[in-house]
């Protein structure tokens, strides 16, 4: 079990191998389909982004509403593959890692290798368990999208498995 602070500051990523179990602590940002489309539109228009991508981790997640007295609702990962087409622009902008569930395209694997990034798998369908690892939750931007907005999550010991490492090796090699 490895314990890592996020966003990444140095080359911590390079020590990770596909299949490693990791606990993440620090700050991650949620973004899924619509938020990705908007981020990439901003990049294409050379506009300033609402989040700092340098060393950042994006979590493919749209949480439930937050129940009274809780930090966040259920907040598990969504299918990563739908975000594949947006990955290159974000990696070029400095994104270091992604958290989601399921396989990625061959292109994404090559991009992860090229940019020395990492793709993590979070326990799929375990949003109630993962909610316990979120200590703070703030809306950053695109509030009109509700669960699809970008939220800044402070996480503690957030459990993930390395899905694709910075050498482009995937835990799903044979699937």
């Amino acid at each position: 079990m490895k314990i890592l602070k996020v966003p990444f500051k140095n080359r911590e990523i390079e020590g990770l191998k596909a299949g490693d179990e990791v606990l993440l602590s620090g700050v991650i940002y949620t973004a899924r389909d619509q938020a990705h489309q908007r981020l990439v539109s901003l990049i294409q228009a050379s506009k300033k982004l609402p989040i700092n991508l340098a060393g950042a981790i994006i979590y493919y997640c749209g949480p439930t509403a937050t129940p009274k007295g809780k930090v966040i609702g259920s907040c598990g990962p969504t299918t990563s593959r739908r975000m594949d087409e947006f990955v290159e622009s974000l990696l070029r902008g400095g994104l270091a890692g992604m958290i989601g569930k399921g396989r990625r395209s061959k292109d994404v694997r090559q991009l992860i290798k090229k940019y020395r990034a990492v793709y993590f798998l979070a326990p799929a369908g375990c949003g109630a368990l993962l909610a316990r690892h979120v200590v703070k939750n703030e809306l950053v931007v695109f509030g009109d999208l509700g669960p699809e907005a970008i939220y800044r999550l402070e996480v503690k010991d957030f459990p993930v498995i390395v899905g694709i490492d910075s050498a482009g090796k995937s835990v799903y090699e044979d699937l």
Partner: protein, 292 residues
């Protein structure tokens, strides 16, 4: 005349009472489905956990079981994808059902989702944008012999729904080819659809009918064998084949890729053989209430 007026008033009161009852019951089952993993699903996951020897798969199953416990204890959704609400209504011979009752079901779903802090996952299909509570898909059947109005909710997440499959086979196709198609649907569903799955299959009817049967198959009690012996044998064979894929929990390998296969069939046309597959994720949530 006075008597008539009185009668109309009374029936209006009764009808309002029924509508309130439906709305309240629907709110209850919305919450129960979101927070409590059904006993038949939970039992199969525990069984899968106890026989698993692959370390990563065992860890994934432990997460799934811990998650179910936390969700129930803290009234948190088992999965953030609280689905598009699919509702199955079964009306018996002793109850009248009209459009207002269906409206009450829809209202109960919207208020139930809001009260339980579930996710607004419904959007217009092309415009997208802000999501809302609702978008319920409602199926109504009249079943002689059933008492009252049985309401079942199946909040269907789209990680699994996106991997639905339909094939219009020739009537002379072999059973083996049908089984291979179903196994292949599970393979393509893969880690994205949150294995271990419950695989719903519909054989016969029409294109839409086969897919609806496949979804209804997910409502079957997983502890009970198929009453049709041939289908029961087919389910067993397909389950074994799917588990040989070794996709496993979270796609990390292991013994259990599917927890169960459930098949429903219906008559079809002499010129065809539709087969529909609907994948249920490991968090196959459903809850039922009966209005008398």
């Amino acid at each position: 005349m006075l008597y008539m007026l009185y009668y109309v008033k009374i029936s209006a009161v009764i009808s309002t009472m029924k509508i309130d009852k439906i709305k309240k019951q629907v709110e209850k089952i919305v919450a129960r489905a979101a927070f409590e993993l059904p006993a038949d699903v939970s039992r199969l996951i525990k069984k899968a956990y106890s026989v698993e020897t692959n370390k990563r798969a065992k860890q994934a199953l432990r997460w799934i079981l811990d998650n179910a416990r936390i969700a129930k204890k803290e009234n948190l959704a088992i999965c953030q994808d609280t689905g598009l609400p699919i509702v199955f209504l079964e009306a018996g011979s002793d109850i009248r059902v009209c459009a207002r009752d269906i409206e009450a079901v829809k209202k109960g779903i919207e208020s139930g989702y809001a009260k339980s802090y579930l996710r607004a996952s419904a959007v217009g299909p092309l415009k997208r944008g802000a999501s809302f509570y609702g978008g319920a898909v409602i199926h109504l059947d009249f079943i002689p012999g059933v008492k009252g109005l049985k309401i079942t909710i199946l909040p269907k997440g789209f990680g699994s729904e996106n991997k639905s499959a339909l094939k219009m086979f020739n009537p002379t196709v072999s059973i083996e080819a049908i089984e291979d198609f179903i196994v292949d649907a599970a393979r393509r569903a893969g880690p994205e659809s949150c294995p271990p799955f419950i695989v719903g299959v519909g054989i016969g009817s029409t294109a839409d009918g086969a897919l609806l049967l496949a979804k209804k198959a997910l409502l079957q009690d997983l502890a009970k064998p198929n009453f049709d012996g041939n289908l029961a044998a087919m389910e067993k064979r397909i389950l074994e084949k799917i588990n040989r894929l070794e996709i496993g929990p979270m796609g990390l390998g292991g013994k259990t890729t599917a927890l169960a296969v459930k098949i429903l069939k219906a008559p079809t046309h002499i010129a065809g053989l539709p087969v529909g597959v609907n994948i249920g994720c490991h968090a196959l949530r459903r809850a039922t209430a009966v209005i008398k």
